[in-house]
Symmetry: C2
Subunit: 250 residues, 2 copies
DNA sequence: GGTGAATTCTCATAATATGGGAATTCAAAA
DNA sequence: TTTTGAATTCCCATATTATGAGAATTCACC
């Protein structure tokens, strides 16, 4: 009970803010008998931590971290809403098809897809696809704990989709570890002949992987000569998305 | 970003502890680069706030407040597990039937029931019963916000079960307000002829009502001459249950 | 009842949170 | 646009509070 006064206060702000549908900050200050400046300071800290999301002037909602942990549906909705404009702008800027996906039930769920004209992709938003055969999927697999990865491998098979698809568990494990280590995943015609893909993780501020972002292309130089430049832009976009998941800019 | 250093740290402890299935406190200290004493202090604060529940030496789980907000099922399970021994002891001590119930879908869900021999009650655990005609139900109704109460009244009728059942909305609203104000609810043959019942709220440490606890009896003195004494014991038991919902003592 | 690990306690001190009020930003209206 | 009142951030001297090493205690399992 000693040495935690400010924490106790911050937690009680958290509870009031999340447990009451609507909260005027000034009323809150009165209820909790704290000066306005203090309340605002605490709210800011909670936002920065991803515990609280500021809906608007006097409505608060659970932040990314709480959604991620306690409300998968809400998290997915929030993530696609926040990332969509960034993904769209990015796709337009690159003139390439861009996907954002999360790992769910041992599959990749595509939450956002921005396709460029012409290049027919059969992926659709909210579609679930296998993880082992795409760059995006491999990034997500790379974020799993040892236990989760074991579980993944124990519950499915790895059908060969193209000549390049990795179908050997040991080899895929190695690849996934490598992807996690180097921080990006690639897919060179493993999913479809003539299709190339680069993907990076989208993390929260604590480096926990929330989703992955990929560009797909039919031109090999995107995974070859231009890889470095593509990666840089992907990472910038991923960073922008991370930012968008927290209320402040902090 | 200023004036919240300790809060930031506490929040990061919270996240690590809840987002990782298993956490050795000492490892955590290393990961977060904080001294052991500090980590323990923060964990204690989080437990005290009802955000974290200490499963055992190195496993943590969401505390009451988080369960209540984000996981109704988990909350109910937790509540019945924690309260059952207390309810049982209380029932034995009083030699009366005791119920613990929560408000869910405009009904009362009975989570724990301890009946004394003989006095046949048809309530069963996990059964859902109407709220308007029992002392326990009225306590729970008394904890609703104006909006929730409006919603309750707009979605159901108030059938007359016994001669004493309150079936008029205005009258029930008045009764519910009174119950909330005086801190306990009674039911004098409103649910069953010859059955009397006294109920008090079980709250968390922030005075938010989580559930209600009632004793039922066929002897009118329990709601008459002995009311004061019954109430006192009920409140003690309710307090004990509150305690049991937080890891530490306090 | 013994043993090693986990947890709490202690307290002087450094570090940090505090808060009143001014300054600024915001959002809705004119 | 401009106005306007409210919401939010900023500022900074100071008191308050968090800190953390190590000792003391409790715990859980043998």
């Amino acid at each position: 009970m000693t040495g935690t006064k400010s924490i106790d206060k911050a937690l009680s702000v958290l509870k009031h803010v999340l447990w009451d549908e609507e909260t005027r900050v000034e009323e809150l200050a009165q209820q909790l008998d704290m000066p306005l400046a203090t309340i605002y300071r605490h709210i800011t800290a909670l936002e920065r931590g991803g515990l609280v999301w500021r809906e608007n002037r006097n409505a608060f909602a659970p932040g990314v971290c709480l959604l991620r942990r306690f409300d998968t549906q809400g998290f997915n909705a929030f993530l696609s809403e926040q990332s969509r404009p960034i993904v769209e702008a990015f796709s337009k800027h690159m003139n390439l098809t861009v996907h954002l996906g999360v790992f769910e039930d041992d599959m990749v769920t595509y939450l956002v897809k921005c396709a460029v004209e012409g290049s027919g992709f059969f992926t659709r938003e909210t579609a679930q696809l296998d993880a082992y055969c795409s760059g995006l999927g491999k990034v997500l697999l790379g974020s799993l704990s040892a236990r989760e990865l074991d579980n993944y491998f124990s519950s499915g098979t790895l059908p060969k989709i193209t000549a390049a698809t990795i179908t050997d568990e040991a080899q895929l494990r190695k690849e996934v570890r490598a992807v996690a280590k180097r921080g990006y995943g690639m897919d060179v015609e493993e999913f479809e002949e003539g299709l190339f893909c680069v993907a990076v993780p989208i993390t929260d501020r604590d480096q926990k992987v929330l989703a992955a972002l990929s560009v797909s292309s039919r031109e090999p130089e995107h995974v070859g000569a231009n890889l470095k430049s593509v990666l840089k832009k992907l990472r910038t976009a991923a960073g922008d998305i991370q930012e968008a998941l927290y209320s402040g800019t902090g």
